[in-house]
Each structure stands twice: as structure tokens, then as C-alpha cells.
């Protein structure tokens, strides 16, 4: 499937920002299941300082807001040819070792809720890991219902599990924490999803990938109860949301920020 994506993020401030640096992880890579045919990003109100690949082979741009700017606009757009792999990405690429994805991060440390969520599946995991992760995905969807506005970017997996609600990011992080608890390496993927019947999307998407012996990395989108197919575009990877976040920044001064995202994904 050929997907056309236009993703525009606008930060507006009520006064000029003194100093702001942002790491952008907004450039998809060509990998198994997707070929980047064309991709460009443009920035107004800021300047790209450096571009490099991070420890997960994510393409990163470091952007500094221009002196006196009150608005920063980041536009990424391009075309990706995707293929339906039924979620099976396969062996990893890059140098990050598998064991790195076994250990919890602060945002994916299990607490009593996630432990309880995973405990019933412990017996089955060895005999049928794939089936177990599918069950886990269902259990997470049930335990953390999709609800907007109750969580924020820094909500931890356990907090979301305690609250019983959250967005795709929270569901993915709960899934990751629980899978690791069951002894499986797991990671976060940020990316895009073509939703049926609509071009305009509310926000970029996030899901989990779990390492299953014999298959390699397998994607699980808890929010939509599927394994990612050719409607999905993988952009950045990390051990949790924070490491794969499309934008991670630091800002000095006390200007009030307003964020506006416009995203179109179409065939």
C-alpha cells in the first residue's frame, strides 16, 4: 500500500521564547515492511543544528528555536510503500542488544496492577509465547480502556494501569511493562496509522513490539486490537515512549505553550 503522509506540528507561545532545543524523531526509516519513497521535513521558527542516528538507529534532528520566534512549525511529509507483514517485523537491526529491551525503564516499571494483569499468563508463556502475547494485548485493552484527556506524556505504565484508562501510548507502555515482566523483550514504536474512512488523524500513533523467539519482533497495537499491517508506518523506536517520542524538548523561560497538530494519512 502506498501511504501519503503530511504531519504538521505547531507550537505557539504568548511571547518570544528565550531558548529552546528540540529533538525530533519524525523521519521514518526503510525497513522490512516499509520503503520510504520520499520524505522531507521543513521547519519555520527554528533551525536544524545537527542530524544523526541515535542508539536505536532513529534519525534525529536537533532543532533550536530562532531568536525572538513565537511560533515553531514543523512539517514532515512524504510517501511510504508498505507491505502487510501481519505485525511480524522479524530480526532487529542496529546494535542495541536484545537484553536492553528486557529491563524496565522508569516509565515501564511494573507495580501491583501490571503484575496482577500479567500473573495469570505466566504458565503459558513458555509453551505458547505468541498466543500469550495476544492474550496479554486483550487483557491490557480491557484493563486500560481508551480514554482521551486522563493521562499525559509522562504518565507511567503503572499509573495508567491503576487509573484503568489512557491513550494508545499508555496502553502500549502497559503492554511493554507486562511483556517484560513475563520475560520477553519489548519496545515502543511511534508512527502513523491510516484509519479507515478518514484522512485527518488526531494524533500520531504508538504501539508495542514484543520479541518472540523464532519470529523476532512482533507488533501489537492494543488500541486497535490488531497486529500492525500495511496501514502502519513505523517511525521511531525506544524502550518506552520518552525514547521514541516524535518531539522531545527543553525550554527556558516561562512562555505559555499551545500545541496544534494536524496529520493526514491517505492512500
Amino acid at each position: 500500500m502506498r501511504l501519503k503522509i503530511t504531519h504538521k506540528t505547531t507550537y505557539s507561545y504568548d511571547r518570544a521564547v528565550q531558548y529552546a532545543l528540540l529533538q525530533l524523531r519524525l523521519t521514518p526509516r526503510s525497513c522490512r515492511g516499509q520503503t520510504v519513497l520520499d520524505w522531507t521535513s521543513s521547519i519555520t521558527g527554528g533551525t536544524v543544528q545537527v542530524s544523526y542516528h541515535d542508539q536505536f538507529r532513529n534519525a534525529v534532528q536537533l532543532v533550536q528555536m530562532d531568536d525572538g520566534a513565537e511560533t515553531l512549525e514543523i512539517t514532515s511529509q512524504g510517501e511510504i510503500e508498505t507491505e502487510n507483514l501481519n505485525g511480524v517485523i522479524g530480526p532487529g537491526e542496529g546494535l542495541a542488544p536484545l537484553w536492553l529491551y528486557r529491563a524496565p525503564t522508569p516509565a515501564t516499571t511494573v507495580g501491583p496492577m501490571i503484575r496482577k494483569l500479567a500473573s495469570g499468563l505466566k504458565k503459558e508463556v513458555e509453551a505458547n509465547p505468541l498466543g500469550t502475547v495476544h492474550k496479554l494485548s486483550e487483557a491490557v485493552a480491557e484493563a486500560v480502556t481508551y480514554t482521551k484527556g486522563t493521562t499525559h506524556a509522562a504518565t507511567t505504565a503503572e499509573e495508567a494501569a491503576q487509573a484503568g484508562q489512557g491513550v494508545c501510548q499508555d496502553q502500549a507502555q502497559v503492554m511493554i511493562a507486562a511483556a517484560r515482566h513475563l520475560g520477553m523483550p519489548a519496545r515502543y514504536v511511534s508512527g502513523y496509522l491510516l484509519l479507515d474512512g478518514t484522512i485527518d488523524q488526531e494524533a500520531s500513533h504508538g504501539w508495542a513490539e514484543v520479541w518472540i523467539a523464532g519470529l523476532g519482533w512482533v507488533g501489537f497495537d492494543v488500541a486497535n486490537a490488531v497486529c500492525p499491517d500495511d496501514r502502519y508506518v513505523r517511525v521511531a523506536l525506544g524502550r518506552d515512549y520518552a525514547e521514541a517520542a516524535p518531539v522531545h524538548g527543553l525550554r527556558q523561560g516561562d512562555a505559555q505553550e499551545e500545541l496544534c497538530v494536524s496529520l493526514q494519512v491517505q492512500q
Binding site: 532545543l21 543544528q49 542530524s51 542516528h53 534525529v60 536537533l62 546494535l95
Partner: protein, 475 residues
């Protein structure tokens, strides 16, 4: 009197001087002990004037104070030094090869020569460094290899300081003091100079200019946490001596894709930064967001190849206590040679056989916490009471994997000047090593620490340790 259980570096059993000390002993016998004592007091005053008041090993809570200086030099013969140099160079090359491997392909883990959990469960491993290859594969540019001696040809590496070894300003100031107090000694004996260290540091750092550097002379800066840091004196001293900029985080900013320094004439790029700020505080954008001591974006600029950070972030994984016992294997794995310098035999209490040995010999051993530092949670068997031994035994049995044990080493002695004349005291040695893509440079000298208390094996300045000038003799 010299205690014969310990190797004395100055005096042989019959009372004759050992060969490296013969010249010094000759000179000493012609001196008036009272005059020397007076000189000793003068040396201290000279030292105070220079104003070294920082703490050598960086204990954060230690008060600023003067570390006592002893006027009797520690002397190492040319042939002894050559052997040490070979061993240190081999070890430091292995450390850098290990770091390059562990942050890239991890062949040593795949080969099963190092257990995965030693790295995977180690906080000193920095995931942000994965896939990062600094210029020439040099991760640890400045190394302080702590050595102890137990016999004529017996040297052991106590620890590899691969993060930010301090104390080099003591090496330089100790020599300065000795040259000032005893100029005649240096005309009589061939003592190799140490004064070129700052120039060598500058050269070595310059040779590590980042991949995208296209100028002629790289701009080098020393990044200090600031005046409140216990080693601030050393930071400013080194910057001054090597003609580099001394900067704090607030002076630096990412401009045009480089880390640049604010000057009266605008921003000037920094190509190589010798940072004395710990990893966690180095970059609030990538590491601890609360850090006020770091430069936001420096890690991005680093990964993009526009600055060299010395020592590289994440080098702590190479000098971790949990890793230490594997060093002989690490040296062999990367150099294909047996380690020239010995490791102190170490029992890993995580292994059942070792644990049972350690429990049986607790009163003879030194037991250390794997992730501890600064001597906390450590048991010195021979010095411990029965009650302390019993308490420690329980701790050890509860969490054996937290501990390693080593024999209590019979550290060599070198005399110090006391009111009653020369008296032997235990010493260790920290040589300073500089690594650039093509060269390992070891200054002929180092920092000798001495336990000033009679019989004490603890050379730490916080526990009554002092320093000595270290002489390496020329051929």
C-alpha cells in the same frame, strides 16, 4: 624499624639501599636530619602558598583541606618503569577496545567470555552510547591506573580509573615543590621530568578532534561543574597550564551545529571538551533534566561528530568493580596476550565455591560491595572485631552477589621523614595515562599516596594519607 613482612622500596634487609635509592641515600646521609625537618615544614608552607586545597579523590562531603606532603621521594628505577609502562599501555588499550566493543557489536558477550548480566545489570552502561564510535576508537582518553607493589617484581592493579581520574595537579605540584626545596638533588640524579604533562594533555586531546573538525588547531576547553566542586583547583590549573579555556555549562551553547563558547567577541566553537562533569549531569536534554551543570544538546552534537567529549560518556562500565575480576580475560580477549600487570585475586561471592571460601577466611580478606564506592560497606577482615565479622557474615549470606573479596595485600613501604628520622609507611601509585588515536602516553611519574600512620594500609587522604613526589629514573 623496617618491618620485614613488607617489601621496603628504599632499604634492603642488610640495611643497604636498594639500587634506585643509592644516590638519594648517599645524599641523605650527608644531610643534617634537623635541617631536613625544617625543610619539611618549609615544603608545607610552600605548598600552602600554591594553594592546593582540593580533595584528591573527590569525596563530595570531605572538607577542603591540605593533604600532607612528605619530602622523601618515591623512586622507581628505569627498568622497573619500562615494565610498568608496558603493562599499563596494554591494559589501557584493552580498556578502550572493550569500550568500543561493548557499545557496538558486543563480541565479548557473544563469545561468552563475559557474562551478559555483568553489563546488562550495570548502571554504568549508558544505552545512549550504543553505536557511538569516537575518533580513533578512544573512549577513555585520560586514565589513572592505581597500582600497588608487594615485592621486587610484584605489582598489582588495584583499580582502573577510566572515568575522571583526578590528582594529576598533585603530581605536578609535588615536583615543583621538590625542585624548589632540593635543586641540588636534581642535578645529581637523573630524574625524568613530569612538567610536560599539560602540554601532552593538550596534544593528546587535540589529536582526538571530532570527525567534522576542518580547522587547523582544535579549540580545547575544560568543563568544570564550578567553583564549589572539590577539584575546581585542578580544573582551573589544568586549563591554565595547557592553554585551554575553562568553562562552565552557562558559558556554552549549541550554535550552528556546534557547542560554542560565549566570548566578548561572540561565540567560538569548542572542538574537544575535557569534561569534569559526571555523565548524569552532562546534558539535561538527554540525561538528568534537572541538571544545571550540563550543556543541553551536547550529546546530539557529539553523536553528529561535531565535538569530542573526553572522557567519553559511559566509560564507567570499564572501571566498575563488578567487571574488575574479569580484567585478565578482557586483556587477553582484545590483545591476544596474557595481561602483563596482575589483577588482585578476586573471589566473586555470587559463585558458590568462592562464597564458601570467603566465609571460611573472612578474617583474612577484604570484602567489598560490588556497586559500592568510597569504601562504604567494606570489610577489612584483619582489622575487624568478632562482632563486625559476624554481622558482615550475615550480610554476605543474605546477598552474596553483592560482594567480592580480595586478600589483604602486603603493600610495599617507602620511608617518610619523621621527628625520629626515616620511618617506613605503606604506599600506592597512580600513574597518569593519555590516550589518543595513535598513541598511549604515560608520564614518567605519578601520584604516590602514603599512609602516614604507622602500620596503616589505608592511603586515602580522607583517612590520614599524604603524598610524595614520584621519581622515575632515566637510564
Amino acid at each position: 624499624m623496617t618491618d620485614r613482612r613488607f617489601f621496603d622500596e628504599m632499604t634492603l634487609e642488610g640495611g643497604d639501599p636498594r639500587h634506585p635509592y643509592s644516590g638519594y641515600a648517599d645524599w641523605f646521609s650527608g644531610e643534617d636530619p634537623k635541617a631536613l625537618l625544617k625543610k619539611s615544614a618549609e615544603a608545607e608552607a610552600f605548598f600552602r602558598r600554591i594553594g592546593i586545597t582540593f580533595n584528591v579523590y573527590g569525596q563530595k562531603d570531605a572538607q577542603e583541606r591540605l593533604i600532607p606532603f612528605d619530602i622523601v621521594p618515591r623512586i622507581i628505577a628505569a627498568n622497573e618503569w619500562r615494565q610498568l609502562e608496558k603493562g599499563i599501555e596494554q591494559r589501557v588499550r584493552a580498556l578502550n577496545a572493550f569500550l568500543a566493543d561493548i557499545y557496538n557489536k558486543q563480541e565479548i558477550l557473544k563469545a561468552g567470555r563475559l557474562p551478559e548480566h555483568i553489563i546488562a545489570q550495570n548502571e554504568a552502561f549508558l544505552p545512549q552510547m550504543i553505536g557511538m564510535m569516537p575518533p580513533g576508537g578512544v573512549y577513555t582518553h585520560i586514565v589513572g591506573t592505581d597500582l600497588v607493589r608487594t615485592g621486587e617484581n610484584e605489582f598489582y592493579v588495584l583499580e582502573d580509573n577510566a572515568r575522571t581520574p583526578s590528582g594529576v595537579s598533585y603530581m605536578l605540584e609535588n615536583r615543583e615543590t621538590m625542585l624548589h626545596m632540593f635543586p641540588e638533588l636534581f642535578t645529581q640524579m637523573k630524574v625524568r621530568p613530569v612538567s610536560s604533562y599539560p602540554a601532552e594533555l593538550r596534544r593528546s586531546l587535540s589529536e582526538c578532534a571530532p570527525p567534522n573538525f576542518d580547522g587547523v588547531k582544535p579549540r580545547v576547553a575544560v568543563l568544570t561543574p564550578g567553583i564549589h566542586n572539590s577539584a575546581y583547583f585542578e580544573h582551573s590549573f589544568l586549563a591554565d597550564q595547557m592553554g585551554a579555556e575553562l568553562v562552565e555549562a552557562g558559558d556554552l551553547k549549541v550554535v550552528d551545529g556546534k557547542v560554542q563558547m560565549r566570548t566578548t567577541k561572540g561565540y567560538k566553537p569548542i572542538d574537544v571538551v575535557y569534561r569534569r562533569v559526571d555523565d548524569a549531569y552532562l546534558d539535561p536534554l538527554t540525561f538528568n533534566p534537572e541538571s544545571m551543570l550540563g550543556v543541553p544538546g551536547i550529546m546530539d552534537v557529539y553523536r553528529a561528530g561535531n565535538i569530542t567529549i573526553a572522557n567519553a560518556p559511559g566509560t564507567g562500565i570499564a572501571d566498575d568493580k563488578a567487571l574488575y575480576s574479569y580484567m585478565p580475560d578482557i586483556v587477553e580477549f582484545y590483545t591476544g596476550e596474557k595481561a602483563i600487570l596482575q589483577n588482585v585475586p578476586t573471589w566473586r561471592c555470587s559463585e558458590a565455591e568462592s562464597l564458601s571460601y570467603v566465609l571460611d577466611h573472612l578474617s583474612e580478606l577484604v570484602v567489598k560491595e560490588v556497586h559500592g564506592s568510597g569504601g562504604y560497606g567494606m570489610l577489612v577482615g584483619p582489622a575487624a572485631s568478632k562482632k563486625e565479622l559476624a554481622t558482615f557474615r550475615e550480610k554476605l549470606m543474605a546477598k552474596p552477589a553483592n560482594y567480592v573479596a580480595q586478600p589483604t595485600l602486603a603493600l610495599s613501604t617507602v620511608p617518610i621523614m619523621t621527628k625520629k628520622g626515616l620511618a617506613p609507611r605503606h604506599v600506592d601509585l597512580r600513574p597518569f595515562v593519555l590516550v589518543s588515536p595513535n598513541r598511549v602516553h604515560i608520564t614518567a611519574g605519578g601520584l604516590t599516596r602514603v599512609a602516614l600512620k604507622e602500620g596503616s594500609l589505608v592511603v586515602n587522604s580522607s583517612q590520614g594519607g599524604g603524598t610524595k613526589d614520584t621519581w622515575v629514573l632515566g637510564d
